[in-house]
Subunit: 305 residues, 4 copies
């Protein structure tokens, strides 16, 4: 499916270069059983963010000589436009059900492999036994306890048998093997765009995906979160590690002011004020207008439960 052989030959440029990112170019990081993430190109670094911000503030920031402090200030105050000046272009291979979550982030550019033009390779996602779990009873969109070994084996057998069966039907409909050779010389296959409709959502596809750093951080906040489905989270975590090498100052600030931060509602703030004044405890949450769930989550953030 990948035509290109990574070349890894360096060339001279007058552009800003992010040292830590150069080592990632054309390196394919494996994700899940058949997926990957690879950096194909990027633009900008920590310094180019600062350069854009300093142009805006003009003489007004002459005094601010500390790069790290200015960068943290920008992220803390959500002065987001300088972060749009950094771009990353990734080559990603992923199951279609993950792709369907991914494309909900509309502020990105993407090109996906077309199953109308070309045959889909016989590759589908099979979870590792450790990822199999029953439906969570308290989290409507999540997983609960894991399966025992026997149950897990049964589930995997079912998923794999069905997927293999679907690919067999696919080739039969196309009348073509994986390399496009006819299975039966005497008949024609049906159109690729029709034959693929029976393939499972676990089928792997691939795309080039490009996004600016501001929107990437938004993606990572949502998809590296524990509420995200595990199969997309593992992609987000791979990209987080790449981001740490690309823009290390921004990454540190991102952890401090966004990933590790908490939003306190008007009611949360009122309750914390009262708690600090010794006039209330978490048990009074109801009186301050918090729901039970809000009180529990505030307790978790404050390490009180």
């Amino acid at each position: 499916m990948t035509d290109e052989i990574p070349t890894r030959e360096s060339v001279a440029t007058f552009r800003p270069v992010a040292e830590g990112m150069e080592g990632h170019i054309d390196v394919y990081h494996p994700v899940l059983d058949h997926g990957f993430v690879a950096v194909k190109d990027y633009m900008g670094d920590d310094l180019s963010i600062l350069r854009m911000a300093r142009m805006s503030y003009g003489r007004g920031t002459k005094a601010t000589t500390d790069d790290r402090a200015l960068l943290r200030y920008l992220l803390r105050h959500q002065h987001t436009s300088p972060f749009e000046g950094c771009i990353i272009k990734l080559h990603v291979k992923l199951p279609i059900f993950v792709m369907r979550q991914w494309v909900r982030h509309r502020t990105a550019s993407l090109n996906e492999y077309s199953a109308r033009y070309s045959v889909m390779p016989d590759e589908f996602y099979t979870p590792e036994p450790a990822q199999l779990a029953v439906q969570s009873s308290d989290n409507k969109q999540g997983r609960g306890a894991g399966l025992d070994a026997e149950q897990a084996a049964q589930v995997l057998r079912l998923l794999q048998d069905d997927a293999r069966h679907a690919f067999t039907s696919y080739h039969s409909l196309l009348n073509a093997d994986q390399d496009g050779r006819p299975l039966d010389e005497d008949r024609e296959g049906i159109a690729r765009e029709l034959a693929r409709i029976g393939l499972p959502l676990s089928t792997y596809t691939q795309m080039y995906w490009q996004i600016n750093l501001h929107n990437l951080m938004h993606f990572l906040r949502l998809r590296a979160d524990r509420h995200a489905q595990w199969e997309i989270r593992i992609y987000a975590e791979t990209i987080l590690a790449i981001m740490a090498d690309w823009v290390p100052l921004t990454f540190e600030a991102f952890q401090d002011y966004q990933l590790g931060a908490a939003r306190f509602s008007r009611m949360d703030v009122a309750l914390v004020k009262a708690m600090l004044a010794g006039q209330a405890t978490l048990a009074d949450a109801d009186r301050f207008g918090l729901t039970k769930r809000e009180a529990r989550e505030l307790g978790e953030v404050l390490g009180l439960v």
Copy 2:
């Protein structure tokens, strides 16, 4: 899957009202075997487009009293922003492989049914025999000749058996029937977000989809086109008919200046000029820099082949 019962009770409003559109509100137009398109809400009409344009031009358009002429002028000159002032909100039920093409239009708002929260109903798309066709040999993304009755029956049996099989596995993994009742009281089902990965791309999903008229026309140009996959084109054609009732003047101009229009390249224009001057024929296309394909397509537009 649809919680709501269309109420069809009218209420008074001071807003602009598009007479022809009111009859579409909450009317479910069937598409394919289990799909639909329904208008849930809209904003604006032909007159509100004109009102926005006239505010921009100020006293400069005092003279232009003819609504139709101004509207056609706007569309012809691609003064697109007044068309952004009209919005349509649709409820659409469609197969996942169609949805995957649909979401490539990023300038829309959408909310999709979540297979993490809820069980997917046992509904999948089966093409009508008339839609089955072999892979086109000259159009890499299209269909060629139709299948004969026997072949078609075989294909449909294969697609249906596989899809039914996938849904049986889905319920077995979930340990739940369509109404959520356990199949086996003594075991738990696996998480919905995992169980669905084996479902086929032909499975129906649904969404609320909202887009402004400018971006809708772009969507319709691409998806009501003969190069679009038939299964999305049939949705686009349903929406075209709704648009004709909503903004009749815009619709007429859209047909004249966009759907029925042709773009002539620099080389096309040069050749047509020479043809009109009696100095060339289509056979000279090569000399004017047109490729064979371009010459053939120009010939088709001009009714010469």
Copy 3:
């Protein structure tokens, strides 16, 4: 500059109607000395947000019968797409320097009065004496103490004389009075697109501006904030009041979870935890990694300074 006479005639519609918003249609709310904000159209209400969310969650939300609770849950968890289903279209008249801040919000549709097509009316913004203030010394983008009456009078005289002078030159260059009649029948005026380049940034312009509720809340968070320039804040506050009538449940949640909320950094959270455990006070902020400014701002949020 406004061609239209508000008609205020109601018509029947099958669409969702927001009762509190109907009274705003075509009502011109004055802002600043010559500006205004008027609702021209809207789509959606609190219930239509819930309807979109419930379609996504499907059977998963059957249990949630309480509209207000679900709406607050959506806003608290930043499930933003259902809020995109509400749209507001405003007619706004505002000084150009305010417009220049306004257009930085790119996720909106706008049509502005064109000074290439039409003559700009002789209207410019003059601050009220109470708004005049010296440059703030600690806030690089803000105002400090007010001016005394005599200073204020001098400033206003200078601003007004210069603006009037610029408009006189404008008419002289155009060779036209406000109604477009030539000042001197024997000469032609220069092109409008050139004559306007000497007009001051305080000149009033006008636009149709349309935005969805999700992006409107983002606009209001930034522009109704005390760090925004007063002249745009006063527009944002007018729109806030309209929003309260349009989507009252969303407005209440917006105040609780966004306007009145505070974001606590990783370091803020760590310090508050220590304070609640009696192991630190705000004076220890430095030890937890907060800058002086961050410590002061945390103190303000918690009512400790």
Copy 4:
């Protein structure tokens, strides 16, 4: 206003490099009397567009070995997403009235110099005498005949005197000279955000502006067009020349399929068909549904008038 000294030191990179673009990095191309355009960074080249397209088409494009042919095919068929993979970041200095047209292109990232943080330098645009012209009588948004030398001198004197006067008032209000030194030690200046409201629309500002190649081509189609105001067209033409060095194959295709192309309406096509068949001439345009203006414009495209 520009803090940075272009460094022009090359560094090694593994990224794609556009040879012809490297020579533009940090080179300031003068535009108008005080403006400029400079490339600060870029991403991608002709080959990276092809790489994205080939990934989408997969094995389907194995046969297409000719880069130029594939690139032209993409642009001709408006397969736009591969062009989004190229980005350009520019530093631009421009009059505010040009900036106000420029920001209407919302699909770009920008950071502008802030007149709230910093003092605006005393720089304003004065047209060259050759650019001065009377209002066009047939084109409501354009210029007609030029002015004679005496009239031109009068106009320029008026524009310059007024602009200088406005800057004198600005400094008086700020109580600061261009370098921020107080004019009168005994008083404070008013806030920068207020003092600037009397500056003319001809005042120069600056920005970092970043856009992908697909959206850049849209910008250039509109702004390098003869209907655009001359002062923005001259910026667009400077960027066109940069684009030619950056992506030469795309540039050639852009000229052939977009800049030099013409859109023929349904009626235009019908008339041309009849003309080629010897059954009509341009004089019959009315019979085919063309307006007088449309007939004239078609005649211009076809070299018949």
